[in-house]
Subunit: 320 residues, 4 copies
């Protein structure tokens, strides 16, 4: 495997593919009133240790936009990091669905700092961040303090969780989140992420945005089956551990090579490095904000030690 452009160039966990085949039995009530979706909700209630609602979606962009539309509307301000996915990569989806105003805030290492904004607005936090760093529960709590409502873009939530071995609840509603978009696609899913709503008062609004947005499939079972498998036997955590482990191994290997410059701390499954030379046969994304030669390298749920070691060897060979 020599394609390290993103965790979304990979396929899916076999358990998840099998779950889809298994879900293909008999008739089921459509639009989410089926038994598999009910089990996903129950499983999330266990994992997050609280009452909550779930809304499977096909993309993180959908999850973020619908979640923000549920929290914020005309006249609201949504603070977020200026490198957030909702700012840079989603074509204004959050503004379109919500009618609210995003206010991007700069911050080192992809992170927001509480002293850089005043409260009374809504807040969107990405954890793990786009820079590959993570917030601890304490840091999250400090950010959420005094804010009107809080959205968490958790496209790599599992990676943030296993990086610090804390509880899902501590990194979400206990820290102040009203809604979490739990990523699965980037971590072994096929085409499913999950909006988890901790604030029951907003369930009708979320349901309306979800349906009107065209994001509520009639055969919901096939999204929910992916999510059920993802959350069964800790597959989501195991996948994230492997991705993070591969990134750590890679960071250690590269750090001993002359001419490799680390541009961000490596805390999850993403590395930003400047390489001494192009590495033939490998695919990364160039990362112009960090200047000439900077690349982003992303490991995933299926990256093996062999993949990592081969890449280290390849970089070492061009570094000479």
């Amino acid at each position: 495997m020599n394609d390290f452009r993103s965790d979304n160039v990979l396929g899916a966990s076999p358990e998840i593919v099998e779950a889809i085949a298994r879900a293909n039995r008999g008739t089921m009530t459509s639009y989410g009133d089926d038994e598999i979706t009910a089990r996903v909700r129950d499983r999330c209630r266990e994992i997050f240790e609280t009452d909550l609602d779930v809304f499977p979606v096909i993309t993180g962009t959908a999850g973020n936009a619908l979640a923000i539309a549920t929290l914020a509307s005309a006249g609201d301000t949504v603070l977020c990091h200026n490198q957030a996915h909702i700012v840079l990569d989603e074509l204004g989806a959050a503004e379109f669905f919500s009618g609210a105003k995003l206010v991007p805030i700069p911050g080192a290492e992809g992170q927001l700092h509480r002293e850089d904004f005043v409260d009374a607005s809504c807040l969107s936090i990405t954890n793990a961040t786009e820079a590959g760093t993570i917030y601890s529960p304490d840091e999250m709590r400090a950010l959420c303090e005094g804010m009107k409502r809080v959205h968490v873009d958790g496209a790599r939530f599992a990676n943030a969780l296993v990086a610090q071995n804390c509880k899902p609840a501590d990194l979400s509603w206990r820290a102040g989140a009203d809604i979490l978009v739990l990523g699965a696609t980037k971590n072994g899913g096929l085409t499913a992420d999950l909006v988890i709503l901790f604030n029951g008062e907003l369930a009708d609004a979320m349901k309306a945005h979800w349906h009107r947005g065209g994001h509520r499939p009639s055969k919901m079972r096939f999204l929910s089956a992916q999510l059920e498998a993802y959350l069964t036997d800790d597959l989501w955590l195991r996948n994230a551990r492997r991705a993070n482990g591969a990134a750590g191994r890679l960071a250690r290997g590269l750090s001993s090579i002359d001419g490799v410059e680390f541009l961000q701390p490596v805390e999850a499954n993403i590395l930003f490095v400047r390489l001494p030379a192009p590495v033939p046969g490998y695919q990364f994304f160039d990362w112009p904000p960090f200047g000439e030669g900077a690349v982003r390298i992303v490991t995933g749920f299926s990256t093996t030690n062999e993949d990592v070691d081969a890449l280290i060897t390849a970089v070492a060979s061009v570094a000479r």
Copy 2:
């Protein structure tokens, strides 16, 4: 199988489930620049005998709303039947995504008639209609004549096609359609429909709406694989033939039962009937617009002759 509420309570064709497993190999460029999506486009060009663009989506609501947003914007009027899915079932998605105004028009048997509207607006046609009737290529061409732009809601396009044995091109762009939302979900797919754009000038707009709407999955291959299987070896047509055949067999069987009243012509895979009494053990949707006792019965790609005959027997037994 005793659940006839909708074609979306069924599962998926085994060929389509297998295609997902087969697509789970190696890394692929994300967001639709993969080889499977390219093959779907090529296959559609063959089937529709013209150049075109394809945009896989997860729901018909998404397909319709994004397609209409591509054709129409602020100040535009979109004429449609007053029982259209976009009017009754999508919570204003088409208006939300497009900013245009829907103008619902009544018409018997779920159909629009050219004399009921003047041209210079956009038009949305559903074929097969929500009433289970179909438009012929000639009828479609007459409707499209002089209209600014035309959208076809083809959630049951395959059913309309096999009902009259015409060519896909004749029931779409040759009749005047700019964009077709080709249903797969209701006809054996898992969670995939396909927006087919015949008007290349609009490709950038469609792409923007698709991405901003959160409807462009990173691991597109898993939607495209469903669609590729759907369009291979005429699976889509075979599935629709079986669904229509089951509806026809059912209609013939019911027509010989005293007290069964047919409320619409049966031309595709939907029946609207008034039953003489409730039928224990069976599920249909009540259909209040047609009055007391009216139900909608929908057959699907996996409905068997045995399923149909058992239902006929059950109705006959309550009719006595």
Copy 3:
């Protein structure tokens, strides 16, 4: 005066023009925190005998769209008459600003009837109606019963009021209205209507929609001054009495002319009639929904008895 196309082809009451000149003194806090706007609010509280908020706007379309956006959002249904201005004349403004779905309902004489819809949705009532008829307080109360929220398009509210000599409160919040768009432009104003919000919980939402919509002028005093003059010394009621009186006089005069057919009851300041022949030198709007020869004739705050009698004479002369 021979232009009877609409009440908006007329100019403005002199009192209102003078009020603008009078407001042009000294500096004032902008965006509505000025003393004139405060007096308009106080005056409305007296007139409507309750607490309320006021939001001056430049057009009825703006007032309706912002008001509906305040009451309804994604997933909501807003029932309204199928000839309502919000349905036919505002290019989808209500849907655009609110994200809700309008559901147009037919009804004779421009009126809704309670038995034609079920509750739990939002409702938009036009009074006086587009057909020139009026609802009584009792009829309004019956319509509002059980509805989630109610908007009143009062472009001709004063005309409805003086036609039946009831209290403003009885025709608005006491009947169940949450928000009233009180027309002034069509009744002697220059460019000002007034959104009156009876439901204080919605004030923040209304304010956000108003400002974001570009409908909150910095020099608010110049809108508020119009409205203050309008509501002073019963100018609004006097103007409406004259408009309604002219329509009544005209109706009486025309009813004695052979070949004039009345197409709707005349209860406010609008007549729909079929004329026996074109009337040279006069301007009306043709009204195709009522067939060949149908026209709409609208009287206004400045229509004189001489204007009316001259028109009657002109019609009589072509009728011979």
Copy 4:
């Protein structure tokens, strides 16, 4: 006059108030097809030396949002200064009306610099800027070079014009602007700004946004009359000269006072200064981005030399 908070706390030029009274004669076709609006269009064609369309609006927020919606839609990026009114003060109006994404860019003295962005996007330029500085025609042309489409927020366009004595055409379409929102309200108008569209292909889109936005008053004559007076006998330029002159005189006076710190160059009618102490009896806006004690002082079309000199004296007296 001791209120220097904004140019919108002032009243209106007498010529403009008189024009409203003068427009109050006879009946006129509504919604902008009247003779006064036609004369405004003709006058603008003379002033700007080109063909163009005009759309009177009630606020600059409306003008900006509608103009941007005309230039940009889903998928488009609109670059602008991060202190632009459309970014900081309009609650997301531009995003709401257009569906496009604003990308705010920092730049000293309220100005954009061509090297800070790449082309192929849309661009919004404010001239005079929010910092009270101005772009020359050459600077504007450099900014517009290679951009897809260009909007100019000209709330203080007249101030920018007279500050450098150039032609209106040179500071608008000749420099690359597709659309200009020409401010009048801040410069002696009552409640009128004017969208001037140089790109005729976009006229239908602009008209649709204008009407659907509720920004097209039926009695348009009363907006257009303001604008006609504004553009007659160079009233707009005379007013701007007086405002700029007052700012210049004030800057010269304050610059000789110890302890007054200038925070931005003074090129139009706005000063940003740090005062040595509060000035009793005067009103300014505090300006926190420039730190403790920073205020914004705005002069206007009616600011007199006496007003200015009195303020200088007052500052001098607290400075001692």
